[in-house]
């Protein structure tokens, strides 16, 4: 991992430093947020963080979009004990998303559980969490809510929308819903629509949560999370995020102790790893949010010309990145995005990067992604002449 090659001092030097999560509330009663399902709800709060400085003409703003279990904390640390944000290798001074030049915004999705309004939020009318009364969400709902935040900043046109996996879906949805408001989009390790295989994994994930009696039809608040179900759900996820090769390199068949237990203990390191990840996840992520968000990404479908509706020209530029060992979002799905763009003569770049990390690569492979993203943004922001001055 790139991360490990750096010394601690280097990491601190390249970090955005101490950051603070902020909150934006909109859609007050009488002016509720309308969901794609037809339901309406308000008020809605979005948790967000920003890094760097918005320039006077508000032309340097980049919206970074998180994946399924991500949050608004994309870079820096929120205090002494805090972990660095989920894309800290990519966001900071001199990094791919260079905070010396750009203003980066990242918000937690609607329906999430990291400070934005979701099923675990308290319904002001009942004083209890919404649980399954929360409206079903879609990727378009996530994007429409983010648009309100961008309006709040007074930003007319984003320089870029970027993200991996579900973050990439949001980037595509931004280009589809608000083509005039995004100058460029960077969808990474993502798809125009889930395949039956991807829906199937999500269905097993949902069933494992709902099969846990502790789930109580979604009304587990006050009783504790459906720990067994949620941790199994996350274990399934982690298997799909890695590759055969990365698992071999990370665990092989190594044992936790020297001998077999001849019992159902975690004998192999890979078992211990999955159990640890599962148990950890229960502490940080709401089970209902996991159900809602997995459903949203299964519903997502911008295939069949929906990415760029007919009769409309768009001047959004695209950079599409895939990873060779990603079998959860295989390269053919990114190539499908490229084909949709070719048909409409959209300016685009596509690169399949070599990596052994599987779907996780978009979080880990900083170096090659940095080269691509940095120069793509430079061209988008400055055009050719400045790129030339920087000396190629």
């Amino acid at each position: 991992m790139i991360n490990m090659k750096k010394t601690k001092q280097e990491k601190i030097n390249n970090s955005v430093g101490i950051v603070e999560t902020q909150y934006f509330t909109f859609a007050e009663p009488g002016n509720e947020f309308k969901f794609e399902s037809g339901d309406a709800l308000g008020p809605i709060t979005l948790a967000y963080e920003t890094y760097g400085r918005l320039n006077p003409d508000k032309s340097n703003a980049i919206l970074v979009l998180h994946a399924l279990s991500g949050d608004a904390h994309a870079a820096g640390v929120r205090g002494e004990q805090d972990d660095a944000g989920w894309w800290d290798d990519m966001i900071g001074p001199g990094k791919a998303f260079d905070t010396k030049r750009y203003f980066i915004i990242c918000s937690n999705v609607i329906g999430g559980c990291k400070g934005s309004t979701g099923p675990s939020s308290v319904n002001p009318e009942t004083g209890k969490p919404y649980a399954l009364d929360f409206p079903f969400i879609t990727v378009a709902d996530m994007v429409h809510a983010q648009r309100r935040l961008i309006d709040h900043f007074g930003i007319d046109k984003l320089l870029c929308v970027a993200g991996g996996s579900m973050g990439g879906m949001q980037a595509l949805q931004w280009a589809a819903s608000y083509p005039d408001r995004v100058k460029s989009a960077i969808p990474i390790a993502t798809t125009l629509k889930h395949s039956p295989q991807q829906i199937a994994f999500n269905e097993v994930i949902r069933q494992s949560i709902m099969a846990d009696p502790a789930w109580r039809d979604g009304n587990y608040y006050g009783h504790g999370q459906p720990e067994k179900g949620l941790s199994v759900a996350r274990m399934i996820g982690h298997i799909t995020f890695m590759s055969d090769q990365s698992m071999e390199e990370k665990f092989s068949r190594r044992l936790k102790n020297d001998t077999f237990s001849f019992g159902f203990e975690a004998d192999f390191e890979v078992e211990g790893y999955l159990r640890y990840r599962g148990a950890n996840f229960v502490k940080r992520f709401d089970a209902n949010s996991y159900l809602y968000i997995t459903k949203a990404i299964d519903y997502f479908d911008l295939s069949g010309g929906r990415l760029i509706p007919h009769g409309r020209d768009i001047d959004t530029r695209f950079l599409i990145i895939s990873f060779k060992s990603d079998w959860l979002y295989p390269s053919y799905q990114q190539q499908e995005i490229v084909r949709a763009l070719k048909r409409r003569r959209v300016d685009a770049t596509y690169c399949e990067l070599t990596s052994a990390y599987g779907h996780d690569a978009f979080l880990i492979e900083a170096e090659e992604q940095t080269t691509l993203i940095k120069h793509f943004l430079d061209k988008t922001f400055n055009g050719y002449l400045v790129a030339d001055r920087h000396g190629n």
């Binding site: 003569r345 300016d347 685009a348 770049t349 690169c351 080269t371 793509f376 430079d378 055009g383 050719y384």
Partner: protein, 200 residues
């Protein structure tokens, strides 16, 4: 354009392409040809390249490029998407040449093809007198590691165009240092053709 370190074929293609046009370069490498066109002639450029290191080179230059092989990459482009489709020094590596040129003529108004001439005098000498597969400046690879799968002469290509009903708009024959005017099939190491579809 700065002419130092720029190969004769690139200089020739650079002069052919009209300012402000839309250009697709098949097998664009690190964008050595596209970059000056974009910088000096405000061309709207798109590259296609299979090598991922070369793609990083293109992106560093601010060029748009698709990671793909030439043979699979053309189908989705609508008709007349480009003013020029360039197939320079890459046609000899293509298996289905006929299909690629046909598709290129569909998506581009003009197709610029550049290739090494297998009937160049130095190649003939090597084959005739030394009995060895030619290795020359324009055909630099040994037989066992050449990426080339097609070996053709200028005469072969002209005949191909005639049979396929393709109109040759311009033809340029290049020696190692300058343009060749006489007996190109013997004296030119490289050829550049500008093609278009014959009107029905």
């Amino acid at each position: 354009m700065e002419t130092e370190n720029i190969t004769l074929d690139h200089r020739m293609i650079y002069s052919i392409v009209a300012p402000g046009s839309r250009v697709l370069d098949l097998g664009c490498g690190e964008g050595e040809l596209l970059y000056p066109l974009v910088r000096d002639k405000q061309v709207r450029a798109q590259g296609i390249e299979l090598d991922d290191k070369a793609i990083q080179g293109c992106v560093k230059k601010g060029l748009s490029v698709f990671h793909d092989d030439i043979e699979n990459s053309l189908r989705e482009f609508p008709d007349h998407s480009f003013d020029y489709v360039i197939l320079n020094q890459s046609m000899q590596e293509v298996k289905k040449v006929d299909d690629v040129i046909h598709e290129a003529l569909r998506i581009g108004h003009q197709v610029v093809v550049g290739f090494p001439n297998f009937a160049y005098i130095k190649s003939r000498f090597m084959l005739f007198f030394r009995g060895k597969a030619p290795v020359t400046g324009s055909l630099p690879h040994l037989w066992f590691d050449t990426p080339n799968v097609r070996f053709l002469s200028i005469t072969d290509f002209k005949r191909f165009c005639k049979e396929k009903n393709i109109r040759i708009v311009e033809a340029h024959y290049l020696g190692e240092k300058e343009e060749i005017r006489f007996w190109p099939n013997l004296l030119a190491s490289n050829a550049i053709f500008v093609l278009t579809r014959k009107r029905q």
